[in-house]
Amino acid sequence: MTETLPRLGRARAALVRPWLLLAPALAVLAVLLLWPLVRVFLFSLQDYGLREITTGEPNWIGTANYAEILASPELWTVVLPNTVGFAVLSVAGTVAFGTGVAVLLASLGTFWRTVTSSAIMAAWAMPAVTGTYVWVWIFDADRGVFNDVLMGLGLLDDPTNWFTNRWTFYAIVLLNVIHHGFPFVAVTVLAGLLGVPKEMLEAAEMDGAGSFRRFFSIVVPQLRQVFAVVIILSTIWDFKVFAQVYLMPGGAGSNRSVLNLGVWSYVESFGQNRYGFGSAIAVLLTLLLLVVTAVYVRTVLAEEER
């Protein structure tokens, strides 16, 4: 990009103008994102409850909230495993499945590619809220089609409630999140795949490289940037998955064995009015994601500098 200032008279305007253009956006970001970010940290150092919200007076307790969280066995046996374990499985599942779909799409003719990618768009467009309700309905204990089919096939004697068990609960969340998340990966990777020079692939094919070899030694290195973005964004989304857990039966806090960091923070705050404690959980979640974010920023800015 070159500067668009051929004349002297524009020099001063050019100093002021970018700031004028930025001012409204920066004001919104400062008041509604940056200040809350500071505030969530300030709340986390207080016993912040209904009284503090109403009076606006601080009630400092130092790091007591953090000490309570870190000393809570629930964090180590339930919440953290649910959050991290789920994120790892769903990122791996989403990226692997999405990439597989992208490769399949790239090998199809125009007609079937249009049909398939329209179907993928439909899955993508399904809002998290309605998508979650549909999966809950499919796996419903009494009338869900999943139980009906299993019983019809003789694989199941009595209707099973899949939402009470921690593992089956998260298996359903996983299905939901992969179904909702793979289209982004598929579409992004497909765009990258179509950009890989055909000559390279043909040259490798002439050399006798099989399709796996071609994929892993030519396509993957070419798409390093695309994969970095897709993996990091999926990680961020899957760490803080909320509605897909909260809206499931028992997911809003009544079944404590399925809590994750986001839901735990929410039910402590708005269920128990322990806004300070909930804020401390939110800060921990943010710190966890900050590590991932740092990697993302470095990747994107590295690309920018080229």
Binding site: A25, I53, A123, M126, V145, A191, I236, A243, T286
Partner: protein, 300 residues
């Protein structure tokens, strides 16, 4: 994407075994391979579309919630009629539309101005501001529910649609700036210079040169912020509290869940009403969506 990376390793391009080529070509079109591909496509379509189909199926079946059948056992539109009249879903739809349109208008305007600043001007702190936008985009917004709740409460905007719009503008803005920046940067500077040479002011150039060229990017970011506002759940639930008359569609759905039994026919009909407009949007813009994503997020 990259122009500096070595494209072809020397040993790859020598073409030592030309005979293998024709063999591989024909194997790619072999019937077995085509069949395998067909099976994969079929499985993918089933996995992708089954939840969508099941939602439609239940919404159209008077027996939904009593017996499960793979097509409507007793086809009816009653669930839709119930949802839109007695269910009060018409109000929720109106609220969602107002909130989404307000969010689109305000966030697009702010994002466009800011993206022009970062894409067209070199000034001190430009990199820092870009970094800031990127970082706030990565902040888990769910973690900000508590302070934003207090903030909106202090502004006395709890349980109002205005309060919700304010929050959604903040949610949509960072992505909008980041994405539009790519579109603005892609407009050739020569066009702007030509406008200046013709004696146009900066404002004139903005309206008649830049804006029309960035329009596709604006469409993309508008759709993104519309869908953000339309689908958003956690802030709507928190900010609107008990003000049922101001509920958006995403939280209005919960009114069809009973204490003892859920009206699945109504829930699926309401879900269909929420989902279909978004789906049509997505399918219509799919090509633009892919290029927009790569232009904005990956910067190809």
């Amino acid at each position: 994407m990259s122009t500096t990376r070595p494209l072809v390793r020397p040993e790859v391009s020598t073409g030592r075994r030309p005979l293998r080529r024709s063999g591989r070509r024909s194997s790619r079109r072999s019937p077995l391979r085509q069949l395998g591909k067909g099976v994969l496509v079929a499985l993918l379509l089933v996995f992708t579309l089954f939840p969508v189909y099941w939602m439609l199926n239940s919404s159209l079946d008077a027996q939904a919630g009593h017996t499960s059948s793979f097509w409507p056992a007793e086809p009816t539109l009653d669930h839709y009629v119930f949802v839109l009249t007695e269910g009060g879903f018409g109000t929720f739809l109106r609220n969602s539309l107002l909130v989404a349109l307000g969010t689109v208008l305000i966030s697009s305007a702010l994002a466009l101005l800011a993206s022009v600043a970062v894409a067209r001007f070199r000034f001190r702190m430009r990199t820092q501001i870009l970094m800031l936008v990127l970082i706030v985009q990565m902040v888990p917004l769910e973690a900000l529910v508590i302070p934003l709740f207090v903030q909106v409460r202090d502004l006395q905007l709890l349980e109002t649609l205005t309060g919700l719009i304010v929050v959604y503008v903040a949610l949509a803005l960072p992505f909008g700036i980041w994405m539009l920046r790519g579109f603005v940067a892609a407009v050739p500077v020569e066009l702007e210079e030509a406008a200046y040479l013709d004696g146009a002011s900066w404002g004139r150039m903005f309206w008649s040169v830049l804006l029309p060229l960035v329009a596709p990017g604006l469409v993309a970011t508008s759709i993104f912020s519309f869908i953000t506002a339309w689908n958003e759940f956690i802030f709507a639930m928190t900010m609107l509290g008990g003000a049922t008359e101001n509920y958006t569609v995403a939280i209005g759905l919960r009114s069809f869940f009973g204490v003892h039994s859920n009206d699945w026919g109504a829930i699926m009909a309401a879900s269909t009403i929420i989902t279909v407009p978004v789906m049509i949007f997505f399918i219509l813009v799919q090509r633009r969506l892919a290029s927009g994503l790569t232009a904005g997020a990956v910067k190809e």
